[in-house]
């Protein structure tokens, strides 16, 4: 069983939700990333999504674009992201790390070399935004063989055929994009999410996390009532942006603890 699968199994046994924060590796600077990852775990994170910065983040809104830009300006690269994961792993053997990014840095390294290096560094999952199932069957198979879960997105526009496509080659969990738009957008349609999640979960046979647009304890709780996991990205990056450097980690911890508390108040399994 993969680290990701065992996290979900453990949480489901106790009726809890997974909290999945997203940060961009190297933002605001590379020295802060590993301490921040540990801080996320201390504040109740169950899985960490680590963004691999890319020059052209087409699916991201302004907040994650800025994070990506800051990280690249500090010399971040896919290789260095893997080094950061390795450093984190040396102290934390339990918390799954999922790399989230775009295809081109992986293509440049070579997909096979990337999978080998990621597995060696202690990466547990990969979510490549612009690798839909039809374009990455071989990559997903290589990743799985190396013990890395290939994680796929579903969206409000996805058809049932798409549910089956991602179920066939994905593993770990499914990431449901809660709105039409880019990361960090505003309007989250709780009714749509509540209507879609049971269908998706029944069809894909995997835990389903929801992200894009979750900004506070209230939205996290409402999503948590129907989802197995809640993903929060842009809001954490804003916290980092708006805090003085020496306070940044503490502020993120306080923010995330608040979310954790809200999620833990939910009773029973996702509806």
């Amino acid at each position: 069983m993969s680290r990701i699968q065992s996290v979900f199994q453990r949480l489901q046994a106790s009726g809890r939700r997974a909290l999945i924060p997203f940060i961009t590796a190297g933002d605001p600077d590379p020295e802060l990333t590993v301490p921040l990852m540990h801080a996320l775990v201390e504040s109740g994170a169950n899985i960490i999504e680590l963004g691999v910065p890319f020059s052209d983040p087409m699916a991201d809104g302004p907040t994650i674009q800025r994070a990506s830009g800051r990280a690249l300006a500090k010399g971040m690269s896919l290789r260095k992201v893997l080094d950061l994961v390795r450093t984190f792993r040396a102290e934390d053997g339990d918390t799954p790390v999922v790399l989230m990014g775009y295809a081109n840095p992986i293509e440049a390294m070579g997909p096979d070399r990337f999978v080998a290096a990621a597995s060696d560094a202690g990466v547990d999952g990969v979510l490549v935004v612009d690798y839909p199932p039809a374009e990455c069957e071989a990559f997903a198979a290589v990743a799985k063989a190396a013990g890395i879960d290939p994680i796929f997105l579903l969206a409000p526009t996805s058809t049932e055929q798409r549910f089956d496509d991602v179920a066939k080659i994905g593993s770990g969990y499914i990431y449901y994009v809660s709105l039409k738009g880019v990361t960090g957008s505003g309007a989250l349609d709780f009714n749509d999410v509540a209507a879609r999640l049971p269908q998706i979960r029944a069809r894909v046979g995997m835990p389903v996390g929801v992200g894009f647009g979750i900004r506070d304890a209230e939205s996290a709780r409402r999503i948590g009532e129907v989802a197995d996991a809640v993903v929060i990205g842009s809001r954490i990056i804003e916290e980092l942006e708006n805090s003085p450097r020496e306070q940044a980690v503490a502020n993120v911890k306080a923010f995330l603890r608040n979310i954790r508390t809200a999620l833990d108040q939910i009773e029973g399994a996702p509806r």
Partner: protein, 403 residues
Amino acid sequence: MQMADKPYKFPDSSGHFGPYGGVFVAETLIPALDELNAAYDACRNNPAFMAEFEYELKHYVGRPSPIYHARRWSDLLGGAQIYLKREDLNHTGAHKVNNCIGQALVARYMGKPRIIAETGAGQHGVASATVAARYGMECVVYMGSEDIRRQAANVYRMKLLGATVVPVESGSKTLKDALNEAMRDWVTNIHNTFYIIGTVAGPHPYPMMVRDFQAVIGNECLVQMPEMTGRQPDYVIACVGGGSNAMGIFHPYIDVPGVRLVGVEAAGEGMDTGRHAASLTAGTPGVLHGNRTYLLQDEDGQIIETHSISAGLDYPGVGPEHAWLKDSARAEYVGVTDQEALKAFHDLCHLEGIIPALESSHALAYAAKLAPNLPKDKILLVNLSGRGDKDMHTVAEKSGIQF
């Protein structure tokens, strides 16, 4: 030079040209692209749709565009004869409008009232704004703030036509960033919005669809050249930004034996300076903007900033079909510098009374290099993709002139 004797038939059903092309986009866009694919398929197999497209090209754009024998220039160069396919004479002044009409008709068929577009030089933005006005659609154009500065006249034209021009401040503030921003808009407004991509790039079916709409250029040449010269040309030469004017004139010639296809990229300040936009000549394969193709990128797969005197060629990628034509050696790709393009620009002004777009001047410059080394009975057909009125400021600035 010739490919296998079977007829050329690309892309395959999933949008691949050999290893290139495909659909590399986030999940939210996949159903929209499936829908577009089905709609385009229905349109192109519908005689009434195609008849309307042709009617619009004839009566609104002014097609067929003529071919002109640049006799004085050819004589001065002293070798092969240069013929110009006059896309500069189209309504709105470039080849871009052919594609915009086609896509606007598809948008209308799909019932989408809002169109968005990215633009570099502003020609595609102007063409999109034009067709939006013509068909009564809302139009939003994304344009890098650096390009807005370089192409002020076209920005004003778009506004006159009723479009909203949104400046893009991210990344290098040029064409690739405008494309990113248009994609973000599309993903947010899929329900009512049609994205008119301006070149043969993006996810399938765009490279194929844009090529099909632009192929009117080459199809006309296939008829016009024998009428004028008794035969097909020895070379077909076109500039390559994203590659739509080149694909439009190349595609009908792919299966014609003995015709060499030459794409001319922007070598900017020189290939060895690193300040250029020659993705096919100096790039490596990768994935950007929905397809796999040649890209200008660093070792880590980050896209690098490009440079060209012409905003329309200032793009770090290239349409995937060109990547395939390069690898299969059916077409060849070369670079022309800013200086060489400027010289061809001035020569055409002085010798033929035609002010070419700076983009097209790259193709002209390569023809001027090639012609003197070829016998006088050889024929070069150059795609004069647009007129140069939009480039007055850039050229004047280079010559130290102020308006």
